[in-house]
């Protein structure tokens, strides 16, 4: 999801200049006092291409902070959020992360969306022993001591989605068209999906794989190919198409006469927040796999949705009380609470102590009670499959009974690797 644009670069440059200027003007001399507010960092793009998704994460993190502060803060100290704008530019992500850790000396950072932005800040957090809560579903194959991943790993989203379509209940589909935008998440996701499908006995001829550039708008050829692929029935599409290209894709899909009952699309990157800006009529009946939907019926979720709408209205955010919640927002939200609980358990803001206190922490999140993994830095979450409705919400068609254990290294592509920060040092080779 990176896009190099000259505009973004210049804007970023200006912002960085301004920050540097401010830094020089007011050097940070005194260490934070023990009873003063504790600083946390919010590292989400507020401008550029990713703003469309990441602004909502900032909003929900700030809402969680406000809630916690209203109840007296953490360890008796108020939380003071430091919001920076990396402007959808991955180099700037690293720079801003450095600024948060070294100048602002924040206790924890909530941030990033794209994998490339996370990879870019990773060395900063590892070298300076910072702490990052990353709230978005991703391709896995990572196990950092300094990151907690509250979004889904492949086995918590990709594979259940495909499994559902293969099942009798999901329609018993036999041919799979893997379609994605050309960057790291779809490529890795499709590698895992392909390995999974092959392991389940789907012949190679029944799997097609295709990628499109960022902001691709013309899906005529691809939909034509899908149509030929789907003739004869039993075919479905597993889509990792990124935000902006979805509308042209679904529109073309419908307009060329393909319908969800004959060839459903299982989307892994379309959530309520993206559907806000879409003409949903072409998407109705297609599916998505996530760990949370706004339509989850729990008392906690009802509270969460209402609180967010009220917050958006009160804070005068664009959209006001028409705003919606979605999976990454939920993950960003409960991330703040997990951190708070860990700090309270550790009775310290010190990164290593908090890190150890996070293991096994549970929280009554909107999607139900979730649990942090005991040693692999990821999160146990439920998996839900939803059908897109006209109003941009999802009708939940199935959900796992309990929580699904996160597997950062997929057993289909890396069966020999594991992730453990308690008995091992991160990624390790499993003994045969």
């Amino acid at each position: 999801m990176v896009e190099y644009s000259r505009r973004g670069f210049i804007k970023g440059g200006l912002a960085a200049g301004a920050v540097l200027g401010a830094g020089l003007g007011f050097p940070h001399v005194l260490p934070a006092q023990d009873k003063g507010p504790i600083k946390i960092g919010v590292l989400h793009s507020l401008s550029g291409t990713m703003a469309i998704s990441e602004v909502s994460l900032r909003d929900v993190v700030l809402m969680a902070v406000e809630e916690i502060n209203a109840k007296g803060g953490v360890l008796g100290r108020k939380i003071q959020p430091v919001v920076v704008d990396p402007a959808s530019n991955w180099d700037l992500f690293a720079e801003k992360a450095k600024q948060l850790l070294l100048q602002e000396k924040v206790a924890v950072v909530f941030g990033c969306w794209t994998s490339v932005s996370r990879k870019s800040v990773l060395p900063v957090f590892e070298n300076n022993n910072g702490l990052l809560f990353y709230p978005v579903q991703y391709e896995g194959e990572e196990c950092s001591r300094n990151v907690f991943y509250t979004g889904a790993t492949p086995n918590q989203q990709l594979i259940p989605g495909a499994e559902y379509l293969m099942s009798k209940e999901g329609g018993g589909y036999k041919k799979f068209y893997l379609l994605g935008t050309d960057y790291v998440f779809p490529r890795t996701a499709n590698k895992i999906l392909r390995a999974f499908l092959r392991a389940k006995g789907v012949p190679a001829d029944n799997i097609a794989e295709e990628y499109t550039p960022f902001n691709h708008q013309d899906y005529q050829t691809i939909v034509g190919k899908i149509k030929r692929f789907a003739s004869g029935g039993g075919a479905c599409v597993l889509s990792t198409i990124n935000g902006d290209s979805n509308v042209p894709f679904y529109k073309e899909f419908g307009n060329q006469g393909l319908r969800s009952e004959n060839a459903p699309i299982m989307a892994y990157s379309v959530a309520e927040d993206e559907l806000r800006g879409m003409d949903t009529s072409a998407l109705v009946g297609h599916l998505a796999a996530w760990n949370y939907f706004q339509s989850v019926e729990t008392a906690n979720n009802k509270k969460f949705v209402q609180a967010f709408k009220a917050y958006a209205k009160k804070a005068n955010l664009p959209g006001g009380d028409k705003r919606v919640t979605d999976d990454p927002m939920e993950a960003a939200y409960f991330g703040v609470y997990i951190w708070k609980q860990a700090v309270e358990k550790a009775k310290s803001f010190e990164v290593d102590a908090v890190r150890k206190a996070v293991y096994g922490q549970t929280f009554a999140a909107p999607s139900g009670t979730i649990k942090m993994h005991e040693y692999n830095h990821h999160t146990y979450r439920p998996v839900l499959i939803g059908e897109i409705l006209k109003d941009g919400q999802f009708k939940i068609v199935t959900r796992t009974k309990g929580l699904v254990e996160p597997e950062p290294w997929s057993k289909y592509t890396s069966p020999d690797k594991g992730c453990d920060w308690v008995k091992q040092k991160g990624t390790y080779q499993k003994k045969a």
């Binding site: 644009s5 505009r7 401008s47 291409t49 703003a51 469309i52 602004v55 009798k168 209940e169 050309d182 295709e210 990628y211 499109t212 550039p213 902001n215 691709h216 708008q217 013309d218 005529q220 050829t221 691809i222 034509g224 190919k225 149509k227 030929r228 003739s231 004869g232 029935g233 039993g234 902006d244 509308v247 042209p248 529109k251 073309e252 419908g254 307009n255 060329q256 006469g257 319908r259 009952e261 004959n262 927040d273 806000r276 800006g277 879409m278 003409d279 949903t280 009529s281 072409a282 664009p318 959209g319």
Partner: protein
């Protein structure tokens, strides 16, 4: 025989039920239904599954609705007067300190008032039960779809029946085929019928079905036909018919692929042309490198969004007409902004291309950020009017989307109008005169300033029009312009600056080429190949397809 007997039985029971209902409101359901309901509330999974079958086979819409409620987990049982009663739950609420729920009778949904949730026991819809419910609801859904007023929905249902190829569906398909008025829905139904016969018929029926599928050019049938052709147990006549049909379908497939690619090329070309036309005028005729061209398109798209919202609020009955109003409005809005831009700043910088480049880029940032502030950073939703969604099937296996057909027509009309304006009107004559020699035309009494302003406004208006058309294809967001500006410049530069014919040819060439190579190379490498091609071409012909010649050609 047995299922039919059951159906008959329950049908009779169902017909009898209302009559009894008049006498006593809480009429007892027929005995087999009553037993089924009792079984549902029980624990035995086998009996529960059988109970679903009993209810499903009634094909009674009310019982099917009950099964749908069961699948969603909103069916409850309660004990009343020593008897177990099955009810359907509705909206929940909190009254005092307990949760209450509206309940209704299982069959006719007669409201039974609100009761405490604690007094009810949920009838669990586990996976096995949901699977048992599914075929009945699906069959019912398909039946409803076959009777849908929208031919596209009927066609979809027919395709589904064909793919499932279940012997039991023959009667349903035949009945629908008999009633079907729409040509392409009939085609899909005939295909479904032949597919079912191919899967289940006797050998001679299968020969006929294979032949029919060949005649219908049914691409869906190829896998089944291939199986038949390779089936050692099939008769030679069957195998031969299958092979012939496959050959026939494959030939047809080549033809549709060719027509499809041609249309896709034309569609992409028309989009490129619409985007580049305004730029060709502003950049080509006036020499202004307008970096804000993309943002003018975005303005057109947002104007469409605003018009849509007006219609939605004020004249919902005329909603489908909004797009016709949006077209001129987006032209005028973008044109007005273009006019302001030209009169306000650009006119002071004619002949200084680098400064105008920077200036228009600045303007583009301002417009973009303005849109972001006004409408928010998220994309906005522009709905397609009904007459621009869906497509028209032109031949078996090929559907042309209405929105793309419309854009091709719009591009053609825009080009024709531009030509007419430039070469058939006195205003056009003045534009061409100022383009060729500004000082001389000014001496001869042409008001060069007015000409500049109108030309720029016209070019900007065309950008707005393109933005309006693009709402039917892609997203509408503040960064819409960025996505298109590079392609627009590519078309204009490849075509040759200052020549409209070059722009048209370049759009057609790039569109056709892109779609021609994309099936082989994929979208990512297709794009790379096109860019490499353009670079090589410009190396050989730096001035583009049609170089400006003569005295005013830049050295």
């Amino acid at each position: 025989m047995r299922p039919r007997f059951l159906v008959l039985l329950s049908l009779v029971a169902w017909l009898a039920a209302p009559a009894a209902g008049h006498a006593t409101p809480a009429a007892a359901p027929p005995p087999d239904i009553a037993r089924a309901l009792a079984a549902l509330a029980g624990e035995d999974a086998d009996k529960r599954e059988a109970a679903v079958a009993v209810l499903g086979r009634t094909r009674d819409p009310k019982w099917l609705r009950f099964l749908a409620a069961l699948r969603e987990g909103s069916v409850y049982s309660r004990t009343r007067g020593g008897k177990t009663e099955i009810v359907v739950g509705g909206s929940k609420s909190t009254r005092g300190d307990q949760d209450v729920i509206e309940i209704a009778a299982a069959y006719d949904r007669a409201p039974l008032g609100a009761v405490p949730l604690a007094a009810l026991k949920e009838v669990p819809a586990d996976r096995r039960l949901r699977l048992a419910v599914k075929p009945f609801l699906d069959a019912d859904e398909t039946r409803a779809q076959l009777a849908d007023p929208d031919p596209a929905v009927r066609r979809g249902a027919a395709v589904k029946l064909g793919n499932q190829a279940e012997a039991g569906a023959v009667a349903m398909v035949e009945e629908a085929l008999f009633k079907e008025p729409d040509r392409w829905a009939r085609h899909a139904l005939a295909e479904a019928l032949a597919l079912i016969r191919l899967a289940h018929g006797a050998p001679d029926v299968r020969v006929g079905a294979a032949r029919a599928l060949g005649e219908l050019h049914s691409a869906s049938a190829v896998p089944a036909l291939q199986r038949l052709a390779a089936d050692a147990a099939a008769s030679p006549a069957e195998r031969e018919a299958a092979v012939l049909a496959i050959r026939r379908i494959e030939r047809w497939g080549l033809l549709t692929a060719a027509v499809e690619t041609g249309f896709q090329g034309a569609s992409l070309a028309s989009i490129l042309l619409l985007m580049a036309l305004g730029l060709a005028i502003v950049f080509g005729l006036m020499g202004v490198i307008n970096m804000a061209h993309g943002e003018l398109m975005a303005l057109g798209a947002y104007a469409t969004f605003v018009v849509q919202n007006w219609f939605r609020a004020a004249w919902p009955a005329w909603f489908d007409a909004y797009f016709l109003v949006a077209l001129p409005v987006s032209f005028l809005v973008a044109g007005a902004v273009g006019l302001g831009l030209e009169r306000g700043v650009i006119r002071f910088l004619y002949g200084r291309p680098l400064e105008t480049l920077l200036l228009t880029w600045g303007a583009s940032l301002i417009i973009q950020q303005g849109l972001r502030l006004w409408f928010g950073a998220a994309n906005v939703d522009v709905s397609a009017p009904a007459w621009l969604s869906g497509g028209v099937p032109v031949m078996a296996g090929l559907t042309l989307p209405y929105n793309r057909v419309f854009i091709i027509a719009l591009a053609a009309v825009s080009v024709a109008a531009t030509y007419w304006l430039l070469f058939r009107t006195s205003a056009g004559l003045r534009i061409r005169a100022v383009t060729q020699n500004r000082a001389m035309s000014a001496c001869l009494g042409v008001r060069a300033g007015v000409v500049d302003a109108t030309t720029f406004a016209f070019g900007a208006g065309l950008a707005g029009l393109a933005g309006c058309a693009l709402t039917q294809i892609g997203n509408v967001g503040p960064s819409l312009g960025q996505n298109y500006i590079v392609d627009s410049f590519m078309v204009v530069v490849t075509g040759g600056v200052g020549k409209l014919a070059g722009t048209i040819l370049a759009a057609a060439g790039l569109g056709g080429l892109t779609k021609g190579i994309e099936p082989a190379l994929g979208a990512v490498f297709g794009k790379v190949a096109i860019l490499v091609g353009v670079i090589l071409f410009l190396q050989r012909r730096p001035a583009g397809l049609f170089a400006a010649r003569g005295r005013n050609a830049e050295a």
